[in-house]
Amino acid sequence: MSSDIAGMTKVFARPGSLTDARFTYCPGCHHGIITRIIAQTLDELRITERTVGVAPVGCSVFAYLWYRCDAIQAAHGRASAVATGLKRARPDLFVFSYQGDGDFASIGTAESIHAANRGENISVIFVNNQVYGMTGGELAPTTLVNQRTSTTPDGRDPKLFGYPIRFSEMIAQLDAPAYVTRQALFDTQRIRSAAVAIRKAFEYQLAGKGYSLVEILSTCPTNWRMSPLQANRHVADVVTEVYPLGDLIDRG
């Protein structure tokens, strides 16, 4: 082993801001990639010691276990409001919230929209995998038309349950937000782009530019009933048709 590495430079390692804990996510779930990018960005910006993360309810309820920084576990849907209270009390801290479909776009709709509308100087990571993972694969506001979930066993019927909600587009209508973007992680190029986006969002907070939202199209192999590779292809081929990638606003 060492003869393979002799004379070579380590160019990729676990970020220092990650704890040693093993992620509780399913095999192939993109939550781990996002978590790694966040930790790496905290390292690059050297802000871990003044960072407080706000963990949601959902698959990422354990987010407070992954980072070597202070954290708060918030009530379901309320992370954007908790982050608001935290940042208003201590504007010198770096505050990010990390939320899934239910937390950010269903039960947390009011908190999500109004933190953005007030232009709270926080960074919000919205993980969109079009389903509720932790509770058993139910319908999310972001679920695609005809997508089967445990509460839409015959596929989402828009006449009964409406259409996939493009939350970033809604937030982009507001005057206050500094940066709203939608990213994905299905190949190396997308992963790099997502990392650039997260870095920009974090830099904007540090520069006091206001609210940033990074929506990340992610996979849920378990509840999509796909392999991780199939799930990646599904995002690339199908999901991006409904949720276009790219920066929606950049006022930085």
Binding site: C69, Q73, V82, G85, L93, A110
Partner: protein
């Protein structure tokens, strides 16, 4: 000594909170506590402190949760229906051992009710309106000056025990004006640092604020720690006031605005030759069971009077048991009993 001003209850609570060093205030408008919100909106920014009108009462209590976690003295205020919305957040605060002050200016209920004063949120406040085994300290002022004093105390107790503290007032107290001597302001910067708060993990292990453990044994331990805290509070923080109880045949048990009215009734009754007393819990949780039990040993009747269908009455019966008769007189819907009305009830029970 502090300055003396004429203020309404809502304003006194707001001003007392500011003087107690409240750094962050988050709330949503609801009658009858609008003046509290407005006072904070005017004054907090001038002092460089945080005021946010939240998107809802749920948003407000969530912001309180975040500010409390960051170690700030923080408060929200609302009235009955809004307090119902806050219950999950209060449970989270309690479960996470976070200090916060919550003001309920109680109005008629249930449902939308009305905007008249009531005392029908006693159960919600003292028996835990949210889920799980938890308690919050509940303070019941009966005059405008006391509302200010108890607000200062609320912040102290919240920090001392890392617990939410509720000021349980009502629409009448919120609106009435009385001369008040305002306390000397506390500079928030002079308050001791909270080592457990999420202030950035420089030079220490990360602080995590949560109320969660999948392992039942671990959650049991968390709960036992909470219970131990509550036993401490019960042992040390009970507050009550007795008026003319030493020789009383009949004692009125009342809190808040009704207790204030009952003081007049005591004077009227004594003038009529009735040995009437008044027992006024100030801490509704922890409830002064022991003190009331002692009074019930001497009196023949403890008459509970509330603006409700009988909520504190249950705690009175728990304390008194068979020691004395425990009748009840209540008014509902925001109807405020008059001194004469209460006195005629008293006379029904005097032989």
């Amino acid at each position: 000594m502090g300055e003396r001003v004429l203020l309404r209850g809502n304003e006194v609570i707001a001003e007392a909170a500011i003087r107690a060093g409240c750094q962050c205030y988050f709330a949503y408008p609801i009658t009858p506590q609008a003046e509290l919100l407005e006072h904070m909106a005017r004054h907090m920014p001038r002092l460089g402190r945080t005021f946010v009108q939240a998107e809802s009462e749920i948003g407000a209590i969530s912001m309180v949760y975040g500010a409390a976690a960051a170690g700030a003295r923080t408060m929200t205020s609302s009235s009955s229906p809004g307090i119902s919305l806050k219950q999950e957040g209060i449970s989270y605060l309690a479960g996470s051992n976070l200090p916060a002050v919550i003001v309920n200016i109680v109005r008629g209920g249930p449902g939308l009710g009305n905007i008249a004063p009531a005392q029908c949120d006693y159960f919600q406040a003292t028996k835990g309106g949210g889920h799980g085994d938890y308690r919050i300290i509940v303070l019941g002022p009966s005059t405008v000056p006391e509302a200010g004093d108890l607000t200062m105390l609320a912040f102290e107790l919240a920090d001392k025990y890392r617990i939410p503290v509720m000021i349980l007032a009502d629409g009448m107290l919120g609106q009435m004006m009385e001369p008040v001597e305002l306390p000397e302001p506390i500079d928030p910067a002079s308050l001791p640092k909270k080592e457990w708060a999420t202030t950035g993990a420089a030079g220490r292990k990360p602080n995590i604020i949560l109320s969660f453990d999948l392992d039942p044994e671990a959650l049991k331990r968390m709960n036992l720690a909470l219970q131990a805290k509550y036993r401490q509070i019960e042992a040390n923080e009970v507050r009550f006031e007795g008026t003319a109880t030493e020789d009383a045949d009949l004692v009125i048990a009342a809190h808040g605005t009704i207790a204030r009215i009952a003081k007049t009734v005591v004077r009227m009754a004594r003038a009529d030759g009735i040995r009437l007393g008044l027992f006024r819990p100030i801490t509704l949780w922890p409830f002064p069971y022991s003190a009331l039990r002692t009074i019930a040993d001497r009196a023949r009747t403890v008459l509970t009077v509330e603006m409700s269908a009988g909520q504190m009455w249950e705690d009175v019966r728990l304390a008194v048991a068979e020691r004395a008769a425990t009748p009840f007189y209540g008014e509902l819907g925001g109807v405020v009993p008059t001194p004469r009305g209460i006195l005629s009830e008293v006379k029904k029970h005097v032989q």
